[in-house]
């Protein structure tokens, strides 16, 4: 019995305890450090030295932080890495601009990766808030925004998302602002485009998530108002390959006689779908239309897929104002910097950084003040994505759309081109 009473490993158990204590100490220490830093006590000073301080402050350059949470890894890494490059470009341009205007402010970026998950997005916003950052650009996905909404509203952190389009986030008087037009507008643009092309029976092939389902339903409403017929087919997302879904699509098109397919996808799955569709005889004999998801992916300029796109005369819409010279500058700058073509929503990221910066200058570095200042700043701001006026819900009010397709390039190869623009109800070609 007495042998059993000896506790196990008495002698060697010291090290892990110290390691555990060390880790706990680090945690507590960093927590204490934050708390001490942020609750600094002001000491009393004489009036002269206070005035001297004020003069020095007026002459000093103030540095503000803009936080970002982008999907640098995970399913949206393709877009997230572009967002990172664009945000860095934007902040450099913004600092040049404020220097040119003689303002004594500079901005720096703190970019976090959120793995395309809602939880890490929340963690990032919490960490940024902890460090005193009041404005966060991102996250890219709508479900991520929904996860951070209550924290942002409670702690007065302004969130500017450049790429979320779901209609159910159009909530007034909160701390979420979105600089991309809602899909309500885009589905109207698509309905106008497709019925203008003479199509009567459309099969919608949409992602089975928040974005795709909502978009499909809005499109159905809009197209049926124009006397057309719509059937929606959702496909499971997160797969690596969609050949079987495309086979189903083909069977359905053949059996029920649709004259066109509208694909509502993201980039990777859209490219995969087109890759399979090009090998299918039924699908090559009807018209295709698309949302903005797949625009910009290099795969579509691949000769085989581009030939398919030409054959089915695929037109897509995307939220951008075609005739905007600032957009062309932005695209050229991005290409020079990274060698890639600017993907969808990158222009919105660029403008979001500028809007964040100017709101800070207008309202000061406080969450509630920035929230008041942003709509006013946005009202007068015309950037790479066009007029950035916001509506009552904090979402973009005026969103024009461009109709894009893939055309042969001079000197061989293929490229993307915008062939028409849609603005407040009317479609203009050319």
């Amino acid at each position: 019995m007495s042998e059993q009473s000896k506790p196990e490993n008495k002698g060697t158990s010291i090290l892990p305890r110290y390691v555990a204590l060390l880790l706990i100490g680090i945690v507590i220490g960093s927590a204490v450090g934050y708390l001490v830093e942020s609750s600094a006590v002001e000491s009393e000073r004489s009036i002269v030295s206070q005035l001297q301080d004020q003069v020095a402050q007026l002459q000093a350059v103030k540095e503000y932080s803009i936080g970002c949470t982008f999907p640098l890894t995970g399913d949206l890494a393709f877009i997230g890495t572009q967002f990172q490059s664009v945000a860095e470009m934007a902040v450099a341009d913004l600092n040049n601009q404020t220097a040119r205007y003689g303002l004594k402010v500079r901005f720096n970026l703190v970019i976090y990766d959120d793995k395309t998950t809602p939880e890490v997005a929340l963690t990032n916003v919490q960490t940024l808030a902890q460090a005193g950052v009041k404005v966060v650009i991102g996250p890219a996905g709508s479900s991520q925004i929904k996860a951070i909404k209550s924290y942002a509203d409670d702690n007065k952190i302004m969130i500017i998302s450049p790429s979320s389009t779901v209609p159910d986030l159009a909530i007034p008087d909160d701390y979420i602002f979105r600089t991309t037009g809602s899909d309500v507008g885009q589905s109207q643009a698509l309905a106008t485009l497709i019925s203008g092309q003479g199509m009567k029976k459309v099969l919608v092939f949409a992602r089975d998530d928040d974005y795709g389902v909502a978009f499909g339903q809005f499109f159905k409403k809009d197209f049926e108002a124009l006397n057309g017929t719509v059937v929606i087919m959702n496909y499971a997302v997160g797969q690596t390959d969609y050949s079987s879904e495309v086979a189903q699509l083909s069977t359905k098109v053949k059996n029920e006689g649709f004259d066109s397919v509208l694909m509502i996808t993201y980039d990777t799955d859209g490219a995969n779908i087109l890759n399979h569709a090009k090998d299918d005889a039924t699908l090559s004999s009807i018209r295709w239309f698309s949302s903005e998801g797949v625009q910009g992916t290099p795969q579509l300029t691949d000769p085989a897929i581009a030939a398919f796109i030409q054959k089915v005369k695929l037109y897509g819409t995307r939220p951008v104002f075609k005739e905007n010279p600032l957009l062309l500058n932005f695209k050229a700058e991005f290409k020079a910097e990274t060698g890639l073509d600017a993907g969808v929503f990158t222009d919105k990221v660029y403008d979001s950084v500028f809007l964040a910066g100017w709101s800070i200058i207008a309202g000061g570095y406080d969450g509630a003040a920035i929230k008041e200042a942003l709509p006013k700043v946005a009202q007068n701001y015309y950037g790479a994505s066009g007029w950035c006026i916001l509506d009552g819900n904090g979402d973009r009010l005026i969103q024009d759309y461009a109709v894009w397709t893939v055309v042969p390039k001079v000197g061989g190869g293929f490229e993307y081109q915008d062939v028409a623009s849609y603005s407040s109800g009317s479609l203009v070609w050319g």
């Binding site: 019995m1 059993q4 009473s5 506790p7 196990e8 490993n9 158990s13 892990p16 390691v19 555990a20 880790l23 706990i24 680090i26 945690v27 960093s30 927590a31 934050y34 708390l35 942020s38 609750s39 640098l72 890894t73 720096n108 703190v110 970019i111 976090y112 990766d113 793995k115 998950t117 809602p118 939880e119 929340l122 963690t123 990032n124 919490q126 960490t127 808030a129 902890q130 460090a131 479900s143 929904k146 996860a147 951070i148 909404k149 209550s150 924290y151 409670d154 702690n155 007065k156 779901v166 159910d168 159009a170 909530i171 089975d208 998530d209 928040d210 389902v213 909502a214 499971a236």
Partner: protein
């Protein structure tokens, strides 16, 4: 710091429940996220539905009108808010527990090697099913669940009260687990882990033990899920992917299996390490990409801990059953009840101190 604590509490409840399963009873549950998700959805659905029911609003569970209506209701009805909170938590415990109980038969039928993938597929099936299930919002999920303390205007106070409730629940679960384990029941659990056939030969009803443990542990995961949805006010099937299960496994293994304190320590290490690593983003001259490093550190940490301390940071201890203590073995034979009492009074004083400190204008 507050915000960190809420997620930490939720994960530590999950870690304790996984510890009960794998650490003590040897059931490799790779589908933890399924029960987490079930608890979350039950809590969210019940929470929203009960509000709508009490006020006789005929909105569906999801949708813009619901969110706005709920926002107004919640701010005006404190008692209802808090009651719904606690009732939802109990409900998630029961429902998730039932699902855990149902999984016992597949657990027995396939062996330990295949148990993991079986439960994991069960988890994925749940998630895909929920993605299509219209009444709970399908892919969009449910938004706008009112915070249990939404009627308090001061947001710091709100978060502090939530953290305190979550901590209280965690303490209850922790002490329950400790009591459960430091007893003849715990000895039986360990015997099942070591050698099932021997346990059977000695007359232990292995089936019943496993079923009970799975019920309890899954119930706890459900409670964690309920806490999560009340914290963020949002639930969606995308929150419950398999990588969450792997994270919790890492917490349990790093902290130490078969040791409830180890589970909490492991959670602390994994939850805080990547927040701390995120601080590197603020140092502009840091040569490596801090974002990538932040995720790599978790992987390296797991390997390093396992290399030098394979049984985890806090190893398994002998069970302090009542018989053990009665005989007076072990140097400091303080009874569990006294320890429990001391812990509860300490925490109570701590809570009062925290509340005072926040009232005085801290963060």
């Amino acid at each position: 710091m507050l915000s960190w604590s809420s997620l930490f509490t939720i994960y530590s409840i999950l870690a304790i429940s996984l510890n009960l399963e794998i650490g003590f009873t040897g059931i490799s549950n790779f589908g933890k996220v399924a029960f987490y998700g079930i608890g979350a959805f039950i809590a969210a659905s019940f929470g929203i539905w009960s509000f709508l029911l009490v006020f006789r609003l005929a909105y569906p569970l999801y949708g813009l009108n619901t969110i706005i209506a709920l926002g107004k209701i919640a701010a005006a009805n404190p008692l209802l808010n808090v009651t719904v909170f606690f009732v939802s938590i109990s409900l998630s415990f029961i429902v998730a527990g039932i699902f855990g109980y149902l999984i016992t038969y597949p657990t027995l039928r396939v062996g330990p090697a295949f148990l993991g993938i079986t439960v994991l597929s069960f988890g994925e099936l749940m998630r895909i099913f929920l993605r299509h299930f219209k009444p709970t919002g399908a892919a969009s999920g449910l938004m706008g669940l009112p915070h249990p303390f939404a009627w308090i205007n001061d947001s710091t106070m709100k978060s502090a009260l939530f953290v305190i409730s979550a901590l209280a629940i965690m303490v209850i679960i922790y002490s329950f687990s400790q009591r459960l384990v430091n007893s003849p029941y715990g000895r039986a659990m360990k015997s099942i882990r070591e050698d099932e056939i021997a346990a059977l030969c000695l007359g232990k009803n292995v089936l019943r033990y496993k079923a009970q443990v799975l019920f309890i542990a899954s119930g706890f995961s459900g409670v964690a899920g309920a806490l999560l949805v009340f914290y963020t006010g949002f639930v969606s099937p995308d929150l419950f992917v398999t990588s969450v299960t792997f994270d919790i496994w890492a917490m349990v293994i790093v902290g130490g299996m078969a040791n409830n304190r180890g589970a909490i320590l492991g959670t602390a290490v994994i939850t805080f390490i990547d927040r701390l690593a995120a601080i590197l983003n603020f140092i502009p001259w840091f040569p490596l990409d801090p974002n990538i490093l932040r995720w790599m550190i978790t992987g390296i940490l797991i390997i390093v801990v396992l290399m030098f301390r394979p049984s985890g940071l806090l190893p398994e201890r002998t069970l302090k059953t009542p018989a053990w203590e009665t005989i007076g073995l072990g140097s400091k034979a303080i009874s569990t009840m006294e320890r429990g009492r001391a812990l509860v009074s300490f925490l109570f004083k701590l809570m009062i101190k925290i509340v005072d400190w926040f009232k005085a204008g801290g963060r």
